[in-house]
Structure formats: C-alpha cells, structure tokens
C-alpha cells in the first residue's frame, strides 16, 4: 500500500514538475554544464588592476559572481519601485555608492525664523518654511565641513576641472584633426595627468556628508509638501509689493537669509531669473530662467518647490534644475506639463554633490545636452518622474549615467515615454558616422586609473516606451562600473548602434532587463547580451513576443574573455543576426582562454535567421552555446 502511495505521490510530483516552466537559473546552469563550466565557480579575474578610491565593492562582487547580476539588478529595481517616499530613493542611490549615510532626524529648533513677523503669510506656510529652513541649517553645517577641507584654489580647480574631464567640445573635435601625432599624444597625456590630479583631489570629498545633507533636505521638503499642497494660493496675500531685479510677477514674500534669498510666488505667473536658496511657488504657469534648485559654488544649497501650473524651466547654466556642485540642489514640481530645457549638467545632475529633481505629474519634456537627466559624478543625480507621457532628450552622459564615484538615476514611474540620447558628439575612435551616447543606464570609468560609477534607467508601469541611442547605451558600462536599464512593462522599442542593450566593455557589468510586453530590439553590434574584455553583458526579456535584430557580435556573445548572456524567458520570438559566425551564443578564444556566450530561449515558437533554430541547440566558438529549449523538460 505504502509503495502505491509513494508511486502516486512521485507521479504527481513529476507531473507538476513537468508543467513547471524552466527557470532562468536552471537554463543558465544547464547551458554552462554543456560547456563544462561549473556555474558557481564562474568569475572574472580581477587581479590585474590596482584598487582605486572609487572602486565599488558590489561591482567587484558581481565581477566575481557574474551570474548574480540579474538578481542584483532586480533587487535594485524592486527597492526603487517599492520606495514609498523620495527619501528612500535618494538613500538607495547613496547605498549604491556605498556611502554610510544616516537617516535624517529633524527637530524644530529655537531659531529666530526670518518670516516669524510676516503678517500675511498663513500659519501653514510659515510651518512649511520653518521645516525646510531647519533642514537647510542642518545641511549647511555638513556642507561647510566638507568645503572647509579644501582651499579656495582647490575648490576652484574642482569646479572648473571636474566637468571639464567629461565634456567634449565640438571645436576641439574639429581642431584635433590638424594636430601632429606628437601634439595629439601630448594632449592625451596631459589630460590623463589632469584627470589623475583632479580625481585624486575629488576623492577627498566627503560624499557621505553631502548625501546626508541631501537626504535631510529631501525629507524636510517631503514633510512640508503635504502642508503646502493644502494651501489655496489665492488665500495668501502678498506681504508687500516687491521690486526685486531677479523675480517678477506674482510675488507673495521675499527675504534674504545668511544662506541665500527666499521667495514665495503666488497663484499668478512668476518669472524667476536668479539663484535662490528657496523658492516656493504656490500656483501659476511660471518661468525659471536661471536656476531652480540648482546648487552652485556660490549657493551650495538650493531648493525649489512648484506646487501648480505648467511651468518652463530654461537655462544655459550648469547645475540649473535639481542639480548640484559640491552641495545639494532639489527641485520638486507637483503638477502640470512642464518643459525643462538646459545645456550641460543642467537637469538632475550631481557633480561632487547631490541633485534631485522630482516631477510628480504631467507629461513633461526634458531637454539637455551633456551630463543631464540623472547624471552622477562624485555624487548623485536623480530624476524621478511620477506620471505622464514624458519625453527625454539629451546628447551625451544622460538618462541614468554614473561616472567615477557617482550614481545617475532616472526613474520614470508610468506613462508611454520616449528616451533619446544621441546626435551630437562624433565617435571618432570607431565610426565617425555615429555619435557617442553613453546614456540610458550607463556606468563609466576613467580607464586605467579610476573605476566607474552606477548608471540606472528604470521605467516602471505598463507604458509603451521608446529608447533611442547610438554608441554605448541602454544597460551598458565601461571600466569597473555598473549600468542597467530596467523596463517593467509595456511594448517597448530599443534602438541603438553599438555597445548597447546589455553590454559590458572592459572589466565591467551591463544589464538590460525587460519584464513584459512585445518588444523590439534593434542594434548593429556588440549588443543584446554581449561582454567584451573581461566584462559581462546581460539581456533578459521575461515575457512577450519579441523581435531582435542585430548585425554581428551580439545576442549572447562573449569576446576577449568576456561573458555575454541572452535570456528570453517566454513568447514567440524572432531573432535576426546577419553574421552567424559570431552571434547567437558565441564565445571566442582570446589570450589563450575563452570568452563565454549563452543564448537561451526558454519557451515559445521562435524563428531564427542566423546560427540558432527553434527547439534546437547549437555551439558557436569553443565556449559559445545556444539553446532554444523544448517546452517539456528535455532529456
């Protein structure tokens, strides 16, 4: 009887097991076993470069345990998605940079608040101002301590040279063509020397203190926001008629504090053309023509809160909107369809500082050039857009870009969004007919001296999104960095040219994860799960009937001892690769050992042009393997 029971239980268990879809981990392990590799022992060799002050431990960990990358990226996305308040997002960015920032605690001080005697301001407004100003005083202490570690000359060097190390000037591109080889060589060496000097100086910046300041300010703003949103702007009368050169329109209150000027705008249109400590605008379609929450050398803390209206934020200056240099800049826009227009390092950028831009509602247009829309460098730049169909436009280092010691995050919570990052800076080294992007979830390091940062582009919700870039983009990274693009739903389109869509180049980690939807992926080469030179590139699409098109060295390709992993977990997919000799599960033999390429399709009726085939297995190169799994567990 017992035996019959056992047989029945076993049969039932087997039936259940048979129905269970193949898990991603099992599929990867099975593929590795076929090329005689023990999955738990798979790792990169990290012994050939010296550790620098900006090396992130988690990047080292992932390079030692590359198969944990997908789970790690998931956990980061989950942490951000489940954040209930913006403070948690800033904290997550701080944690990614391995800064041990403590959570802020605000207690009302016994300060003599400048607006105490302002008769027309409502109690709620005063209370909000008190909260924010208390946080400003707290943050100021920290930032002063950080700045006091440097001489004026050093601060000037950081202010001028940190952005200079990243910027590519168009004139320079033109003139370099006429240089002799010696001149070109000397310039490149001077740049390397400068980069070493400046970044070694920047390594002394206490980023923990700056992140604590930013967290304190964001916490206070978030607290005050609940009260501010309850205020009817028409119920507040102007304290007096103000004539201030830097503000025009509906001004309710203006005062100057030792930390900078404080302005409160009313229900009507207000035009701001100065750099203020604090702007609170209660309503109206406003214009910000220089800065709003832009912290600079002269104004290290800056906050702007716009409660209502379709606003225009336009400036050619760096650190303009929710951006910071060696300080904290915060911009919160609560309602309306807004336009953010800037040049370099203007929107949600943190250079040696923390910049935070939170747009809570409306379909917005973001337009920048270099280092924009979530760009972090020795600090963090965070752009959080909570709703609406948004359009993000940039050229270089944009939309979730992290350089040395930095974390750049662009987190869009919902809507059909469009991300464009390309079109201006020629890729001189590889293809002059293409442009560099280094954007859309891109981590970048200063090879060979300094490790890179963290770049994350996270799009939540079921919107149908479009991602357009050129060279280096879409969940990619370069030199001891981490770049990830995570899209959690919708039918999305990804378009790039090279080093994109889950690509790692030179000892680094890049991942693109798409959770659901019928997606289109188009790139030329070194893309779609490609690792080049001791790097890991992962493309993981979980659901939907997807279409993948590439030319060569992509779709699970390992090159020069890199690892490329491509996993499509469900749906009837279509794969096109022009060069089948080095794509679709390809690993080549370099430096007398292997590169690993895995292309795995776990389910569905799929069609292939290239090396692969539906319900079949193939090898490509010594350590390259592709498996289109048969629906039932195969033996």
């Amino acid at each position: 009887m017992d035996t019959v029971k056992k047989v029945l239980v076993l049969t039932f268990a087997l039936l259940l097991a048979g129905d269970k879809p193949l898990s991603r981990t099992t599929a990867i392990n099975e593929a590795l076993e076929r090329i005689k590799i023990n999955p738990s022992k798979l790792s990169f060799n990290l012994t050939f470069t010296d550790i620098d002050p900006f090396r992130l431990r988690f990047v080292n960990y992932l390079l030692s345990h590359p198969l944990k990358t997908i789970d790690f990226t998931d956990s980061v996305a989950l942490k951000l998605v489940s954040a209930k308040e913006p403070l948690e997002i800033v904290r997550a960015a701080s944690e990614m940079l391995e800064l041990k920032a403590t959570m802020p605690v605000l207690t009302k001080g016994t300060y003599n608040y400048p607006w105490k005697s302002a008769g027309q301001l409502t109690a709620k407004l005063k209370e909000s101002l008190d909260i924010i100003y208390t946080a400003i005083l707290r943050a100021e202490e920290n930032i002063k301590t950080v700045r006091s570690g440097f001489t004026t000359a050093q601060l000037d060097s950081l202010y001028n040279f940190l952005p200079y190390l990243l910027e590519i000037s168009e004139e320079e591109t033109e003139s370099k063509a006429e240089l002799t080889v010696e001149e070109e060589d000397s310039i490149s060496k001077s740049e390397q020397r400068l980069s070493k000097g400046v970044l070694n100086l920047a390594a002394r910046i206490d980023r923990t203190k700056i992140s604590e300041s930013a967290m304190t300010l964001i916490y206070a703003c978030d607290l005050a926001l609940k009260t501010l949103q309850q205020i009817d702007p028409k119920s507040v009368k102007a304290e007096k008629a103000y004539t201030i050169p830097e503000v025009s329109g509906d001004i309710l209150y203006y005062t100057e504090t030792p930390q900078g000027a404080v302005v409160i705008g009313g229900a009507g249109k207000t035009v701001y053309s100065g750099n203020f400590l604090l702007i609170i605008d209660l309503g109206g379609d406003d214009e910000y023509l220089l800065s709003a929450g832009g912290a600079t050398n002269s104004q290290p803390i800056s906050i702007a809160i716009d409660i209502r209206g379709n606003d225009i934020y336009r400036s050619k200056e760096p650190y303009a909107f929710g951006s910071a240099f060696l300080g904290a800049g915060i911009l919160i826009d609560c309602e309306g369809s807004d336009l953010y227009d800037s040049k370099n390092f203007g929107i949600a950028t943190g250079i040696a500082g923390f910049g935070f831009l939170w747009d809570q509602a409306g379909s917005d247009l973001y337009r920048g050039d270099t280092g924009t829309e979530g760009c972090g460098y020795i600090g963090a730049g965070i752009l959080l857009d909570s709703s609406g169909n948004d359009y993000y436009y940039g050229h270089l280092y944009a939309q979730g870009f992290g350089y040395v010691g930095g974390c750049g995050l662009l987190f869009d919570k919902e809507g059909n969004d469009c991300y464009v990052a390309q079109g201006k800076y020629q890729d001189k080294i590889r293809r002059r007919d293409h442009n560099l992007s280094l954007s859309q979830g891109f981590g970048f390091g200063a090879r060979p001296d300094f490790s890179g940062g963290v770049g994350i582009l996270l799009d939540d919700g079921n919107g149908n999104d479009t991602y357009i870039a050129d060279v280096f983009a879409q969940g990619a990274s370069y030199w001891y960095a981490f770049g990830a693009l995570v899209d959690r739903g919708g039918n999305d389109t990804y378009q790039a040219f090279q080093y994109a869509q889950g690509c790692g180049t030179h000892i680094t980690i890049g991942a693109l994860i798409d959770y659901a939807g019928d997606d289109n992926y188009l790139s030329h080469s070194v893309s779609q799960g490609c690792g080049h030179d001791l790097a890991l590139g992962v493309l993981n699409d979980r659901k939907g009937d997807d279409n993948y098109v590439i030319y060569d060295l992509s779709q699970g390709a390992g090159n020069a001892n890199g690892i490329g992993i491509f996993v499509d977990e469900a749906g009837d997919d279509s794969y096109t690769a022009k060069q089948d000799r080095n794509s679709q599960g390809y690993g080549n033999f370099r430096r007398e050992y292997g590169s690993i390429g895995l292309m795995l399709d776990l389910a569905g009726k799929d069609s292939y042009i290239g090396k692969g085939g539906d319900e079949s297995e193939w090898t490509n190169g010594r350590y390259g393997i592709g498996i289109d799994f048969v629906p039932q567990k195969q033996k």
Partner: protein, 316 residues
Amino acid sequence: MRSSSHKKCTGIIIFLLFLVSIFGSGAVANTEAEDKVKRARHLFLTALKTEDRGNKEKLIKEFVSLKESAVEYIISEIDWKDPEHLNFAEEIIPRLARVAERPFMFLLGDSSAFRVSVAIRFLGKIKSKRAVVPLILLLNDYRVQVRASSAYALGEIGDKSSAVYIRQALRDTVPAVRRNACISLGKLRSKVAIPELIKCLDDTAYSVAYAASYALISIGDPSITDTLLALLPTSKGAFRYHIIETLGGLRDEKSLPVLLPLLEHPSFIERGITCEALGNFRGNYRVANALKKLLNDPSPFVRMEATNALKSIRGY
C-alpha cells in the same frame, strides 16, 4: 717673468678649451640622443595611427633601426598604461630583442607591479634566456600581476629547465597564475608536470581546467591516457567532462573502448560531451558509425554535438 705668466695664461686657456670640448661634446651627444628618442616617438605614434600596411612596416623598420632610443621610448610609455600603445610595442619588441633585453631586465627591480609585469611580458616576447632565473624567482613575488606574468613569460621563452618551478605555480591561490602556468607547461611539453596538470582538470576555475586540458593534449604523452582512463570511473561533474574532452583531444585509440560506451550514457550531457571528444578521431570509421546513431538521439544537445563531431571527423 712675462713669458712664464704668458705660459700660465696659455695653459689655463688650453685647460678651459679642454673642459669645453668635453662637456660640449657631451651636450651634443645628449641632444643627439634626445633627438633620436624624439624621432622614435614620432615613428612609433605615426606607425600606430597608420592603417596602410606597407607604410606601417616602413615606419616600424625605421623605428627598430633606432635601437636603444626606440627601447628608451617604449619604456617611457609604460607608465601611461595605454593598452593600445602597449600592445603595439609588444608587437614590435621581438625585433628589438638584442637591445631591449638589458633595460627590461633592469625594470624587473621596479617597485610598480604594472611596470614589472610589462617588462616580464616583453622579456617573454623576446624569448630572453637571461631572464629565466629572475622570472623563476618572481614566480614567488607577493604581487599577483608579477606572478601571473612570470608564469606566462617562462612558457614563451621556452626554457625546459623552468618547468619544475612553473609546476609549483599550479598551486598558486590565484586562478590567473594557475592558468598561465598550465599554458606554459603545455608550451614546454613538460612531462614532469603531468600529474599536477591532471589535478588541474578538477580546478574550480573553468579557465584553469580548460588550460590544463589543452596543456595535456599538447604534451600528448601516452601515460596521460592511462591515468585519465583510470580516473574516469570515479570522477564526477566538470572534472569528468574535462577528462573525456582530454581523452578525445589525445586521440589515443586506447581510450575508444571506454569512450564509445559513453555514447549510451543516461545523461544527455555526458553523451554530448563524448560526441565532442570523439570528433577528434579524424578518419576513424568506427567512431563515425557510432556517432551516426546519435543523430536521432532524443536530446537536441546530443544531436548537435554528434553532427559537429561527424563534420570534424570528415575534416570539414
């Protein structure tokens, strides 16, 4: 009195002229040397940028003709760690073997791990016999880069006497060192290292296990087959797969009675890996016939490996 002072003056002038001639010629020589290094820099950078093969070769030849100055320039480049420059220098360095050996030997005493490992790499490229002893000593260096480079360079140099010492590097804690040691022992066809190399087939790092397999295949001693055949029944997992792979690579017909039955093994991975191994037996009809049966195997992996192996047997 007058004539004696005149004589003194003349003597002083002659002495001064003598000093000027010594230092002056030194300065001229220094300028000449500097000019040569400058010329070397120009040639190197231009050759690096030149895409036309003919022109590139001309520039390289002229660069090599500058001998010591060319080496001096290459050494000055090391600190910049530019992989493009270093790889190009590595290509050229064998042509400068005679003059490069001494300066690179001096670099072995440098405090920077990077400079030392580049010097080792270059000494390996120029196959410097004089570097063998220092490199053997550097196999125990505290810096990983240095140990790994030494293990590799010794194989490049090809001095069989170093095999005993490289063998010790197979026990290094760092996989990169062990891998390079395997590669070198394979190049040296060192029979003394066979037992250690076989152990490396069970290494936790896949790159070491693969390198050990290639090394054993290139050594190709019949004793390897015997040892592996003895180990096969008790081996498991990746170790077992690497044994099968190595047996195939050795192409020793002694292993066929063991390998052919594995084509009926219950594990599809084992059947597939055996197919891959048997693909090395080119022109062997018995093996080909056995493999043909697996073209209808239920596992796509086995079918694929059988197809590939048959192609390999036919010499495609």
